[in-house]
Symmetry: C2
Subunit: 317 residues, 2 copies
């Protein structure tokens, strides 16, 4: 736990940023007079830099005074900038800015997909997954390329972050290996750490907690292990994985969380498979649903998951 | 391979974007007259949206006409916008815009850390890693929290992407489990796919290529496996991992690449350990170097890696 606090305090670093820039890049020297900028930043420059700054630090409260110092500008100008950014973010399905009033207040970027973008992304995922080249012996699907594509994974992460935007989430939990890219992408938008459950314990993990679980589809008893120090007691945890059939693995993660007195804030998967007799998990969000795999005719049928029935989105129907 | 092409053609989607937006969110309807925007976008809105668009799609060539259509604006105005964005990106250590002239031309965002930002990020990594709470029995270090922090991983990814910005890279290769978050973050900045080497073969990977290698520090023979279809022959591959001691694992990946007739474009690691008699790998970039772990006095000494001697950065010394 301690580490997480250290990281948060060391990394987002608003206050020292301006100082660093003053002492910074050589191509700035023509603008520097006795170590201080002699020009204010124009609105256009502020908008570009603020947009980048906010996008990189979702859900972090940035005081207006930080921006005012950073650009040597009046708070009223910064407020106007933020209004423009907020309007554009909302119009373009990027997200929104939340304003927290008062002395300890500021502004926070919340990433949110709108309905049109979500529809498009999920329909593209269906198309990608229906490619018959994905068929492997036994009716398995090759999805490794999707999981390794930064563009795909980033869209998936944004969709899942949007789905759980209003939940209390301290940590995202996933299971090695294929869940990791999706969990990291979701974590980037929600700005919370990821913990990775493994099948074996490693010496570099320190003391671990392990449980046995029954893999739903194969009815095999397996072990899952989580480093003890990676999750604090009582944490609110979002479970993310790439694929869910009967839900045995996810059910295992839920049981593992009980060992940490942690609670489940939500469950999100990229693909759910319809081909299952009993589902061990009820309340989850899926982006797409694998309806049918016909090995003979080489056909894969993939449809929308329950995303649109579970998630309230901006942008009407 | 085919998948990768499909993904690239389906996902970045410049041409259909305007169409989607026109049919899109309800809060846009007040601006829509017979299906077409009746107002031009103001520069301030364009700057915010273009900044987001370019940041999300590094290294993708975006034609000026795409932006001109998107905002119903003259190409000359778009050019002016791009000049403002480029200047701000360079001034702030965000990166740069490359302009490709001619009919097939356009603009490309290249992410680049400048020297000041790199110095700060690497020195913060050293501080984080020297925390004596990380010490595990046997002198191992707990780093799982760093690998799971989206803010840390994103900075590491940007540093590695900057280091190899000028190399020809088709794919990033890493090994499960802890290399994955760093590889994905680097891939997001370089906009190339990630392939993941594993210790065992899975039914969902299809046919695989496997090799044996000697883990350098423990002199144990191990196996590494890569799905055959995940990497095309002759690809240029950047190898990324979290930790390198003697380099046995990375050497294994180099040998595995030979089986694919692929070539090594570069090797980047988060941490290298100084405690090694012979290094199996010469030409690599490391962000930090683990100099010494003293279990008795509970002291960890972490210093800058070879990053600044290997990487040419903007922003002087």
């Amino acid at each position: 736990m301690r580490y997480i606090n250290v990281i948060e305090s060391v990394f987002p670093e608003p206050p020292c940023d301006l100082v660093r820039r003053r002492a910074g890049p050589a191509f700035l020297t023509d603008r520097i007079v006795t170590g201080v900028f002699d020009v204010k930043f124009r609105r256009s420059e502020r908008l570009v830099d603020m947009t980048h700054y906010l996008l990189e630090k979702p859900r972090i409260l940035v005081p207006l005074s930080f921006f005012a110092d950073r650009y040597q500008s009046a708070k009223s100008s910064i407020s106007e900038d933020l209004t423009i950014i907020k309007e554009t973010f909302e119009k373009r399905g990027i997200g929104t800015l939340q304003t927290v009033p008062g002395a300890a207040g500021g502004v926070k970027f919340i990433s949110r997909t709108d309905r049109a973008e979500a529809k498009e992304a999920i329909s593209e995922l269906c198309t990608l997954m229906e490619n018959p080249d994905r068929l492997l012996p036994g009716g398995y699907l090759y999805m490794t390329d999707l999981i390794g594509s930064p563009q795909v994974v980033s869209k998936v992460g944004k969709l899942l972050a949007t789905a759980f935007a209003d939940r209390e989430i301290d940590t995202i939990m996933t299971v090695a290996t294929k869940g990791i890219p999706i969990a990291m992408a979701t974590a980037a938008y929600l700005n919370v750490p990821v913990v990775i459950v493994r099948n074996d314990s490693k010496v570099t993990e320190g003391p671990t907690v392990s449980i046995n679980y029954v893999s739903g589809s194969q009815k095999r008893i397996q072990t899952m292990v989580l480093s003890k120090r990676s999750l604090r007691e009582g944490a609110n945890v979002l479970i993310v994985d790439d694929f869910m059939k009967a839900g045995g693995t996810i059910n295992g993660m839920i049981n593992l969380l009980k060992e940490f007195d942690a609670s489940v804030s939500g469950i999100g998967v990229l693909v759910e498979s319809e081909d299952t007799k009993e589902r061990l998990v009820d309340d989850y969000v899926s982006l797409v649903k694998l309806r049918d795999v016909d090995v003979r005719s080489q056909q894969i049928k993939v449809v929308e998951g329950n995303y649109f029935s579970k998630v309230s989105l901006f942008g009407g129907d």
